[in-house]
Point group: C2
Chain length 414, copies 2
C-alpha cells in the first residue's frame, strides 16, 4: 500500500522559509521576556482527560484529541462510551497545563513565579483557511502576585515584544470582569442574565449601540434596563478619566478596587511604554473564557482588524488542583497570526555572516575532497555558513536557487 504524502487533516508542514521566521520570532520572545525576568518551562503535550474535561476550557473541551488506552487498560468489548476508551488527551491550551505544573512544583518555584511557555496545542476544529488543528501558543503568566504589578509587567512585556517585531499603532484594550458585571447588575439585569447580555455586548464593535439595543430588546429585556445599560457606555474617551467618570456615574455600584487597579495599571503602562501604541479602557471588552476573575485585556491592530494578543486575571484556577487559590494573571500572543502577518509582509530577517556554497562535481578526484572539507571547516570555525553540496546537472538552476537563499559566493570544484 502506498503511503500518504499529505499531513493529517487540518495540520501543516513548515517549510524552511516559514521556519526561519518562526525561529526568529521565538528568539525575540525569549530575549524580550527573559529581560522582564520570565523563565521558560515546558509541560508534556499530553494531559489527563480528567484535567482537560474540567469545565474551564469552554468550547475547547469539545475539540479534544483523545488518546486511546493501551495494553490491558483498553477493554474494547466492555467500552460503552468514549470516556471508557481514553485516559489521556492532547492539550488544547497552555493555561490548564500551567496551573497543573504550578500546583505540582510550587515549592520549588520562586514566588511570585513568572513563566514563559511556547508550545503546540491541538483542537479538532472543522478545518478552514488559516485555522489549523495544531498551532503554537506563546503565553506569559505571573502566579502568586495579587497586585496590579502583574498586569503592568505582562502588558509592558507583550507590547515591548510586539514593538521589537516592528508592529506599530496598536491598542491595548483593557477592562475588568468585575466592572463588566457591575455595569450589568446596576442597570437592572439579573445575575443569571449576565452571560447572555455579554454575548450581545461583545458585538458593539460590529453593530454599534443601536444594534446592541435592538438585540437586547429582542432578547426580551426591558427598554429601561437597556437604556440604563447603554447610558453607562457613553462619553467613553478610553483614558483614566473615563474610568473616573464611570465611577461617578455608578457610585457604589462600581467595585472601587477594580476601578483603582485599572487606573494604576494604565498610569504605569503609559509612563514606562516605549512602543507606538495606546492603552484604552474599553468597558465593552468581554473575552470568552469563563475562568477570568478580574482584569481582562486584548491587543488590536487596526490594520489587521483582529486581536493579536489577549489575557487576563484568573485567580481561581490553581485552587482547583490544590484547594487553595493562588492569584494568577496571563497574556498570550497570537503566535500563528503574527507569523502569517510577517510572511505576508515578506519580512526580512537580518542576515548574520557570509554564506558561501561549495559545489562538488561528481567526477572530482576523491583524493582532493579532504583538502576542500578542511577549507570549509576553517571558514565555518570563523562563523561563516558554508554549504558543501553535490553539483547538480542543471547547474544554472541550482545556482539561482542558492542565490535566492542568500549564498552570495559560489565556488565550483571539478
Amino acid at each position: 500500500m502506498a503511503l500518504i504524502k499529505k499531513p493529517v487533516t487540518g495540520m501543516k508542514d513548515v517549510l524552511p522559509r516559514e521556519m526561519e521566521i518562526r525561529n526568529f520570532v521565538m528568539g525575540k520572545v525569549r530575549e524580550t521576556y527573559s529581560r522582564f525576568g520570565f523563565t521558560e518551562i515546558e509541560t508534556p503535550h499530553l494531559e489527563h482527560i480528567a484535567n482537560l474535561c474540567s469545565n474551564q476550557g469552554g468550547e475547547n473541551e469539545k475539540l479534544i484529541f483523545r488518546i486511546l488506552k493501551r495494553g490491558e487498560k483498553l477493554k474494547l468489548e466492555e467500552a460503552k462510551e468514549v470516556s471508557d476508551l481514553s485516559d489521556e488527551g492532547l492539550r488544547y491550551d497552555l493555561t490548564l497545563p500551567l496551573t497543573r505544573f504550578y500546583s505540582n512544583h510550587m515549592n520549588d518555584l520562586p514566588s511570585p513565579f513568572k513563566a514563559l511557555q511556547m508550545g503546540s496545542v491541538f483542537r479538532a476544529d472543522r478545518p478552514q483557511k488559516g485555522r489549523f488543528r495544531e498551532f503554537m501558543q506563546c503565553d506569559i503568566d505571573i502566579l502568586g502576585d495579587a497586585t496590579s504589578l502583574a498586569e503592568i509587567e505582562l502588558i509592558l512585556a507583550t507590547t515591548t515584544l510586539l514593538s521589537s517585531l516592528s508592529f506599530k499603532d496598536f491598542t491595548v484594550r483593557i477592562s475588568d470582569r468585575r466592572i463588566l458585571k457591575a455595569m450589568a447588575l446596576c442597570s437592572g439585569f439579573a445575575e443569571e442574565d449576565c452571560d447572555r447580555v455579554f454575548i450581545i455586548l461583545d458585538k458593539m464593535d460590529k453593530i454599534g449601540p443601536d444594534g446592541v439595543k435592538k438585540e437586547l430588546l429582542e432578547a426580551g429585556y426591558s427598554e429601561e434596563q437597556t437604556d440604563n445599560y447603554l447610558s453607562l457606555f457613553q462619553g467613553d474617551s478610553g483614558d483614566t478619566d473615563s474610568v473616573r467618570a464611570l465611577k461617578e456615574r455608578m457610585g457604589d455600584g462600581l467595585p472601587e478596587e477594580a476601578a483603582d487597579s485599572l487606573i494604576r495599571i494604565m498610569d504605569s503602562v503609559n509612563a514606562a511604554k516605549s512602543g507606538d501604541f495606546k492603552v484604552r479602557f474599553d468597558p465593552t471588552l468581554v473575552r470568552g473564557m469563563s475562568y477570568y476573575t478580574g482584569t481582562i485585556f486584548e491587543i488590536e491592530i487596526a490594520e489587521f482588524g483582529s486581536s493579536i494578543a489577549g489575557g487576563g486575571r484568573y485567580d481561581g484556577m490553581v485552587g482547583r488542583f490544590t484547594g487553595r487559590d493562588v492569584p494568577a494573571c496571563g497574556f498570550s500572543i497570537g503566535f500563528e497570526r503574527i507569523i502569517t502577518i510577517l510572511l505576508d509582509r515578506d519580512f526580512q530577517i537580518p542576515e548574520e555572516g557570509e554564506k558561501i556554497a561549495f559545489l562538488i562535481d561528481k567526477k572530482l578526484d576523491p583524493a582532493k575532497l579532504p583538502e576542500i572539507m578542511k577549507e570549509a571547516a576553517s571558514l565555518r570555525a570563523g562563523g561563516q555558513t558554508v554549504l558543501v553540496t553535490q553539483m547538480m546537472k542543471n547547474k544554472r538552476f541550482q545556482k539561482d536557487g542558492l542565490e535566492k537563499s542568500g549564498y552570495k559566493e559560489i565556488r565550483d570544484f571539478y
Copy 2:
C-alpha cells in the same frame, strides 16, 4: 473532583533550570548546523496511522499512541479492533515524517536538501528511570545526495556540535550495512540467517569474540562458519588500513564501492575535523533499524558508556511514498542523554548582561509606581534583565532565591 497534579504517566514537566540548558543546547544546534547549510523544518506531531504502521519503525510501531477517531467517523458499536477506532497517531520518530515531508514538497526544496528537525516524539514504553514517553529528538538529514559527501557533512556537523558543547575524547564508529552482510555471507551463513547472526554480533562489546563464538554455536551454526566469521574481525586497528586489509582478506566477497566510500569518508573527516575525537571503522557495528541500506555510524563517549548519536544511509524510504527512491542519509543526536549529562555536570551557561531585581513593597504609594516602571523600562531597553516583583513577607528567603538565580543587584522600593 480534585484535578490531577502530576504529569501523565511516563512524561515530565521541565522546570526553569533544565529548560535553560535545553534552550542553550537547541541554540547551539541551530547555530552549528545552519553554518553547515542545514535548514530547519517542522512536521505535525500527528501522523497517519497507515504511515506509522508501515513496517519500517521496527519495535517502535508497537509503542504508538493512537488518537481516537472523532465525530461521525467514530463508530463505537461496530468497532472490532483498535484499527477501527483510530486513524491518526503520535509520531515515534522524525525520520518517517521527514520522508513524508520530502515526498510532499520535493519540488519546492533544493536538491540536495539538508534538513534539521527538532521536536518531541512519543513512545508508549514501560516507564523506567531516565526513559520518558515523550522526548526530544534532534536529527539532521541530507536527501538527494548519493555521494559520500552526505556522510562526511553529517559527521563533521555532529562532531562540531558535540565539541561546542565541550564533549571530548569521543569515538565515531563507522561501518556499512553492505559490508556487514558481505562478511556474514562470505563466511558461509545463509541470507536468511543474517538477522540472527547480527543480533549476536551486536554483543561483541560486552561478551567478546569467545562469547560471540559460544552463542553462534549454541544457535546451531557450524564451527567452520563461526571460525571463518570471527577471523574476519581480527587485527582490527580501526583506521582506513583495516578497511584495506579486510578488502584483501575478503577479495571479491567485499563490495568495493562500500569499502572505497568508507575510506573516503574517514579521510575527509580526519582532514577537516577540529574536535577531540577519533573515527574508527568498526565491522561489529550493527544498528537496529531495518531501513538502513549503506553506511551506518554511531558516536560513543567512553566516560558515559553509551552511544550519544547514531545514524546512517536509508536510500529506500522516500520511494515508499513516491515509487521512486531518493538517496538519503541522517544523523540523530541523543538530545535527552546530552541534557542529562550537562545537568549532572552542573553545566553553567555563560550569562549575558546584568540581572537586577526591583522588589516592590505592598504598601508603596501607587503614585510612585509609574516612575519605577519607567526606570525598569530604560534598563531593559539597554539589554539588562530587570525583574520587577512584589516584595514577599520573608524578604531574606526571597533574596537568597534571587541571588541563586543570578540577580546580583536587588533594589527595594517602599
